[in-house]
């Protein structure tokens, strides 16, 4: 995609600045423009916009956003087309290193040097980072050959190198499952995927199409307990875990391999959020936001995986559209929707985003369940709304559209989100 809108001169003030040009940033920039904001700047650290989509070469994207099943790079292309139509300033190879609470943004890029500019509003769309070995404290030696699945994906899909010849994957998140297939197709022996929990963390479709299709074993309730190798990984030990997820070391066994890929979850990249001292939700690791994704610092919005970890890029685009539109409104000094209803996670719900709702406009509530329910499930939004769904599982985010009508009479209330098996409700 030609970046025809690379700016010739950076303005000293923008209406809306969007940090990150992945699915969230691309969508937010377009929405801000559609809302009437004129001077919009989008900044990305990579040489081309698209974010992590560019290395997610598999399909499964776009069914909601573009009404077709496309790959990650195609999704990025389609999203970027919308941006280019809108004449947004796109600055690539650029980092936002600092933002002050009065919205002065510091940028660094080899082309444009180090500069500062002011912005009317800011959309943080910086995505997530991967949890690493240190985050889960895998004991053992520290040889080369332990790599996060996302980094391996970048090496394989963008640069044409393999992470090793015989790989074990820890964690059954979607990136891990996708990489199991990807590596197998590239001639790497994938010896197994190990998952601490009793269920897969990734989508069922990926378990079937990435593992079962290729006879790659998935070991549930099993984890890596030791890593051996002075130079390169030579062998790892795995062991089943008990009901409290404690490894049963007496039942461990060794696997000879040269690579251990980690797909043990994503964490919102809250670097800017911390710098801006935004209120963070310990459940998501991202900022606390209103129904328009505005954070605790007025004028600062968050969308995408730095707000909470989404399962589909499509949801990210939708959420970012709300953030971008509101960021445009704020920059233009328009009225903010009242935030007069609070939402909070209840039974079997790990977190809810956003944290407040408005009785003035429509919004979407997103949440994740803690435990899978394989059967009819009732979703409750306090007493305001309930909806029956066929099943809920932790890997799949659940969304509920909430219109002002549904919230009629609930202003000032706190609504609890529950996900309860229908049979339990009836009994």
């Amino acid at each position: 995609m030609p970046i025809t809108s690379q700016p010739r001169h950076l303005l000293s003030r923008y209406d809306v600045t969007v940090v990150g040009a992945g699915p969230a940033g691309l969508s937010a920039a377009v929405a801000a423009r559609e809302q009437g904001a004129e001077r919009i700047l989008m900044v990305d650290r990579d040489p081309e916009p698209g974010g992590i989509l560019l290395q997610c070469i598999h399909s499964g994207f776009g069914l909601h956003e573009f009404k077709q099943d496309v790959t990650g790079p195609e999704y990025a292309h389609l999203a970027l087309e919308r941006v280019i139509e809108q004449d947004v300033d796109v600055l690539t190879n650029t980092y936002v290193t600092d933002v002050t609470r009065d919205l002065r943004v510091k940028l660094m890029s080899p082309e444009a040097g180090i500069s500062t500019l002011d912005t009317g509003s800011l959309v943080i769309a910086t995505g997530a980072r991967e949890r690493t070995r240190a985050a889960i404290k895998i004991p053992g030696e520290r040889p080369a050959g332990v790599m996060t699945a996302g980094l391996a994906q970048k090496m394989v899909n963008l640069h044409g190198y393999l992470p090793g010849r015989r790989a074990v994957i820890l964690g059954s998140g979607d990136i891990g499952l996708i990489m199991a297939r990807r590596l197998t197709l590239e001639g790497v022996q994938v010896l197994g995927v190990f998952e601490l929990l009793p269920f897969a963390s990734g989508l069922g479709r990926n378990v079937v199409q990435c593992l079962q299709d290729f006879d790659i074993p998935l070991h549930l309730s099993t984890t890596v307990v030791d890593i051996h190798g002075h130079q390169r990984v030579e062998r790892i030990a795995v062991a089943p875990v008990d009901d409290d997820l404690v490894p049963q070391l007496d039942k461990s066994w060794d696997i000879e391999c040269d690579t251990l890929l980690l797909s043990i979850g994503l964490i919102p990249d809250a670097e800017l959020a911390r710098q801006l001292q935004l209120n963070l939700d310990p459940r998501t690791g991202g900022p606390v936001v209103t129904s328009t994704m505005e954070t605790s610092l007025p004028g600062v919005f968050a969308a995408g995986n730095n707000l909470h970890i989404n399962d589909l890029a499509d949801w990210v685009s939708q959420e970012a559209r709300a953030a971008g539109a509101a960021a445009g409104d704020v920059a233009l000094g328009r009225h903010r929707a009242r935030q007069d209803v609070t939402v909070t996670p209840g039974r079997n719900v790990a977190y809810v985003v956003p944290h407040t709702l408005s009785t003035e406009r429509s919004q979407t509530v997103s949440f994740r369940v803690k435990q899978p329910i394989y059967g009819d499930t009732m979703l409750h939004l306090g007493d305001a709304h309930k909806r029956k769904v066929r099943a809920v599982v932790p890997p799949e985010m659940v969304t509920m559209k909430v219109s002002p009508k549904l919230l009629d009479g609930f202003a000032g209330d706190t609504l609890r989100v529950d996900a309860i098996p229908v049979e339990e409700e009836e009994s």
Binding site: S59, G72, H77, E111, N157, L185, G375, R390
Partner: protein, 143 residues
């Protein structure tokens, strides 16, 4: 271990055989039982909705997969170009489809959706680029 959801190769006979598939149409993940005789699907059980019948029938009689991979790219911003099969590939031919692309090198620029190869591995299916790669000089920053 997840349950193996594929039955062994069917053998000819008069009696219907039962094959098990995990439906991937929605998070429910229904365990579908597909009765078939001589390759023809007789009945699908275990589904919770109509999509299950369609999935079970398709998965038994003609399983296909979306295939995406990468090929070498010369003169681009990175070394690999993402590509995909223009339509779903029969499941049994997925490995061969990808393997046959080994060593393929594409020169920049590349148009979005450009057909890079036809009838890949005898499948009759085209290979298309999923990323646009502009010529080097156009990537130079304007500012």
């Amino acid at each position: 271990m997840t349950e193996r959801t594929r039955a062994p190769d069917q053998h000819a006979g008069d009696e219907a055989e039962t094959f098990v598939y995990l439906c991937t149409s929605c998070p429910l993940g229904c365990r579908l039982e597909v009765d078939a005789m001589d390759g023809d699907v007789i009945e699908v059980r275990g589904h919770s909705c109509k999509r299950g019948i369609k999935y079970g029938t398709q998965e038994h009689s003609d399983p296909r997969r979306a295939v995406s991979t990468t090929v070498w790219l010369h003169g681009g911003p990175c070394e690999r170009l993402p590509v995909r099969a223009a339509e779903p590939v029969p499941k049994a031919q997925v490995r061969e489809f990808v393997r046959s692309l080994s060593g393929l090198v594409v020169e920049a620029p590349v148009a979005f959706g450009a057909v890079l190869a036809t009838d890949v591995a005898g499948t009759g299916i085209d290979l298309i680029a999923t990323r646009e790669i502009v010529a080097e000089r156009e990537r130079e920053p304007v500012g």
